[in-house]
């Protein structure tokens, strides 16, 4: 079916909606990469089987969709219109669930979500604390969309924003709308999107050709919202890019996607074909006279390719090394033409702004940061998952109300935001309102939205070392401050973790950090010292413990800890001795065991093996 006018799109959307309205029930299973690792595909297969067996094919609309966000609890099943939500579903019980929930209009208690605080079973998804405080403008429709079925997107008035833009608005009006909405880039720095578009629109091109790019090279470890968006709702990215292309005057777009995201890539390629087939992409889109198409470029695994100029070099088939700016890509980008780059989440916000109206969008958020932001809440947190929250929410609300706090009654130590370019935020700042400026104000940044929670057992010097190692390996090597500087900082941090640190090391770290920040060519180097600087700022005492007292207070750094067995708790089961790779543990059966510190390599295999929790690091 080719759509040749906005009226035709309207008609088609209505037809699809009517078809869907015939089903009284809908069951949605999360099929995101996270849940797939929990065998959700088996759950879905069992569901299809069960629906067939119970003769419910005419009654129930089945959906295997993109990410529902609550990754901790996968595999997930969501029944509508009842709103019943099941967590950690075992495929073998799916038939019982279907019978109980649809045929008997009840529920299967065992799979209901149990509130870890009150211990109560929660029936409806929207009442679960994890979902309650979220404002899920982007992720909230994922459970309705099968990523490879364009009709699911059209049933939600998909591509109508594009139709409106192409037939009712001038490019300048589109940019103004995005400006009034106050949209800022979700990829890291938070640059105002409209301003970026305008610079690109006004930049002269030698042959009139301009490009737009979707940066889907989500490289920050611990962040996976862009993957989930692209994987779960690829048409929203396509629609956003088409709107942006019209506003800027671009005829061709690229999506630069990580090779590590095969499902996102596959869903995107299918979506692109479907959009072309329906004339929502390609020549003369919906009969408007506007031409725009999208190509896909696959990355090769280089963190630095998230940087604009490096990303462009990579699409051109070169080593992904940044070049000095200016000229900015908006003036001179891909193949020397003006090029606008935004990331996945930014592009997905564009159709939303047109659909809900810029004023309404701008009502959400803080004065200078509008709309929602998706964070991946991971690490030492009870409810791991993707959370979409209004800008201005506090870190405490995210971590305790949505995330359910720290597991095992451990004490919160820090939350790391902004990926390797960001910083570690201590408990004293938990009440700040999250937006672009506030996070920068305390030495971190929004970044792409990774939020890694750390508890008392996380060593902050080790974390600084971890990020420095990451950046040292990912430094492209073009400029000296970054290439050599990150290496030197890593050496110092390693020395401190190995118990060989000296008081002068802290000063050396600070001097190096300042130089690397000032002199690096691109943002990778320019922000590389941030994890070290924030940990030095907020957790200096941990560095000092390592240096002066040769102790790792969190019990992490192998050279500074001793593994001991509490004779009160040890029941002499011998499991630890069996797993010890160096035979350092000995003891009579049913008698408390001991660790020989001379032989012990502090691998801690024994610690996680011990059921009595009798083994500890000191």
């Amino acid at each position: 079916m080719r759509i040749d006018s906005p009226a035709a799109l309207e008609r088609y959307c209505e037809e699809v909606k009517e078809k869907k309205a015939k089903y009284p029930y809908r069951v949605s299973v999360c099929g995101g990469t996270g849940c797939q690792a929990f065998n959700c595909l088996e759950v879905y297969e069992a569901l299809v089987e069960s629906i067939k067996e119970n003769d419910l094919e005419e009654e129930v609309e089945l959906k295997l969709t993109g990410c529902h966000g609550f990754c901790e609890m996968g595999p997930l099943m969501y029944f509508q219109p009842m709103g019943t939500f099941y967590a950690k579903v075992d495929p073998k019980d799916v038939n019982d669930i279907v019978v109980a929930t649809i045929l008997q209009e009840g529920e299967v208690e065992k799979y209901l979500y149990r509130d870890p605080v009150s211990g109560e079973k929660i029936h409806h998804r929207e009442e679960i604390p994890f979902y309650k405080k979220q404002v899920r403008l982007l992720l909230g429709i994922n459970h309705l969309i099968r990523p490879q079925v364009i009709d699911d997107y059209l049933a939600l008035d998909g591509y109508k924003a594009l139709a409106k833009v192409l037939f009712e608005m001038t490019p300048e009006e589109v940019i103004e709308a995005v400006e009034r909405a106050g949209l800022r880039g979700r990829g890291g720095a938070g640059f105002p999107t409209a301003r970026k578009w305008r610079i690109c629109r006004e930049a002269p091109s030698p042959d009139g050709i301009k490009y737009i790019i979707c940066n889907a090279d989500e490289g920050d470890p611990g962040a996976y919202m862009d993957r989930s968006l692209l994987e779960g709702n690829p048409h929203a990215v396509i629609e956003g890019m088409a709107i942006g292309a019209y506003a800027i005057g671009a005829c061709e777009g690229y999506v630069y996607v990580r090779h590590e995201y095969p499902l996102a890539l596959r869903n995107l390629l299918v979506a692109l074909d479907q959009a072309r087939e329906m004339n929502l992409l390609g020549k003369d889109i919906m009969g408007s006279g506007f031409d725009f198409d999208i190509k896909v470029a696959v990355g090769g695994g280089a963190f630095v390719c998230g940087e604009e100029t490096a990303l462009i070099a990579s699409i051109e088939g070169k080593r992904g090394m940044p070049r000095p700016r200016p000229p900015y890509p908006a003036v001179k980008g891909l193949w020397g033409r003006p090029t606008n780059i935004n990331n996945v989440e930014t592009w997905e916000n564009v159709p939303l702004i047109i659909r809900m109206g810029p004023e309404k969008f701008a009502e959400i958020g803080t004065e200078n940061s509008k709309g929602t932001k998706i964070f991946s809440l991971v690490g030492k947190i009870n409810n791991t998952g993707l959370v979409e929250v209004p800008m201005g929410i506090t870190l405490r609300e995210i971590i305790y109300d949505i995330g359910g706090g720290i597991p095992g009654n451990k004490a919160f130590k820090a939350v790391q935001t902004g990926g390797p370019s960001g910083g570690c935020i201590p408990a004293e700042h938990l009440d700040i309102q999250v937006d672009f400026e506030s996070l920068q104000g305390i030495g971190s940044m929004m970044g792409s939205g990774g939020m890694i929670v750390m508890d008392e057992n996380t060593c902050m010097v080790d974390i600084a070392k971890y990020f420095m190692k990451f950046l040292c390996e990912e430094s492209c090597g073009k400029c000296v401050p970054c290439r050599v500087g990150t290496k030197r900082m890593l050496e110092i941090l390693t020395k401190i973790c190995d118990g060989e640190g000296t008081p002068e090391d802290l000063e050396a770290l600070e001097v190096l950090a300042a130089d690397i920040k000032a002199a690096s060519l691109c943002a990778l180097g320019g922000t590389a010292p941030n994890p070290v600087l924030t940990t030095l700022r907020y957790f200096r005492h941990e560095y000092e413990e390592h240096i002066y007292n040769k102790k790792c207070p969190a019990g992490v750094c192998p050279a500074l800890i001793t593994i001991k067995i509490d004779p009160e708790k040890c029941n002499g089961c011998g499991a630890c001795a069996k797993v010890c790779p160096v035979n350092a543990i000995s003891g009579e059966k049913k008698q408390p065991h001991v660790v020989d510190p001379e032989l012990c390599i502090r691998c801690k295999v024994c610690m996680d093996r011990c059921r009595q929790e009798a083994i500890y690091a000191e």
Binding site: G317, G379, V453
Partner: protein
């Protein structure tokens, strides 16, 4: 679950067979920017970027060999050595790191006697660390031949590796 990008179980084409190379070169003929895509396809076909394959690619598609080598070493996805029978990928993203991924790496190094990036002399194992597989809810994660093993501990790692190191082990019955 079998990951989409896992090609380790399928038999790779021997590097003497240049027909797939010819096909790939023809597919991208005229597009000088397609090197990374060509590399990905060669990688999937041959399992790694063999020197001979690189030489042939340079000759047939008009690249400098040094240019190809520069690209292949810049991007971490490409291997220049053949892989082992089993590929063990340990995720070392931040979420996995705070949940003791380092302990898993140490355990694998001890058991297999190789370091990340290396293949055992008997070509049975290739050990790799990856920056983030994006399944942080399961942290720490180990992916063996495309199968995800979540919430790992050093002792579970020991057990998992044992299934592969012992004769005929496939790791199938591990959760």
């Amino acid at each position: 679950m079998e990951a989409e990008n896992c090609h380790c179980m399928q038999r790779f084409v021997p590097v003497d067979d240049l027909r797939p190379l010819e096909e790939i070169v023809n597919k991208y003929r005229g597009d000088k920017s397609a090197v990374i895509s060509i590399f990905h396809e060669l990688h999937e076909t041959y399992g790694y970027l063999d020197e001979k394959i690189m030489e042939e690619l340079a000759r047939r598609a008009g690249y400098q060999l040094s240019q190809l080598y520069g690209l292949a070493t810049f991007y971490t996805q490409f291997r220049l050595e053949p892989v082992g029978e089993h590929i063990i990928k340990i995720c070392h993203g931040t979420a996995c790191h705070v949940r003791n991924a380092q302990g898993l790496i140490d355990e694998a190094e001890r058991t297999l006697g190789i370091r990340p990036g290396q293949t055992s002399p008997d070509r049975k194992f290739t050990l790799e660390t990856v920056n983030c597989v994006g399944t942080c809810a399961l942290a720490p994660v180990v992916v063996v031949d495309g199968k995800y093993h979540g919430r790992m501990t050093p002792s579970k790692m020991q057990k998992l590796l044992k299934q592969y190191t012992e004769k005929g082990g496939t790791g199938e019955d591990e959760d």
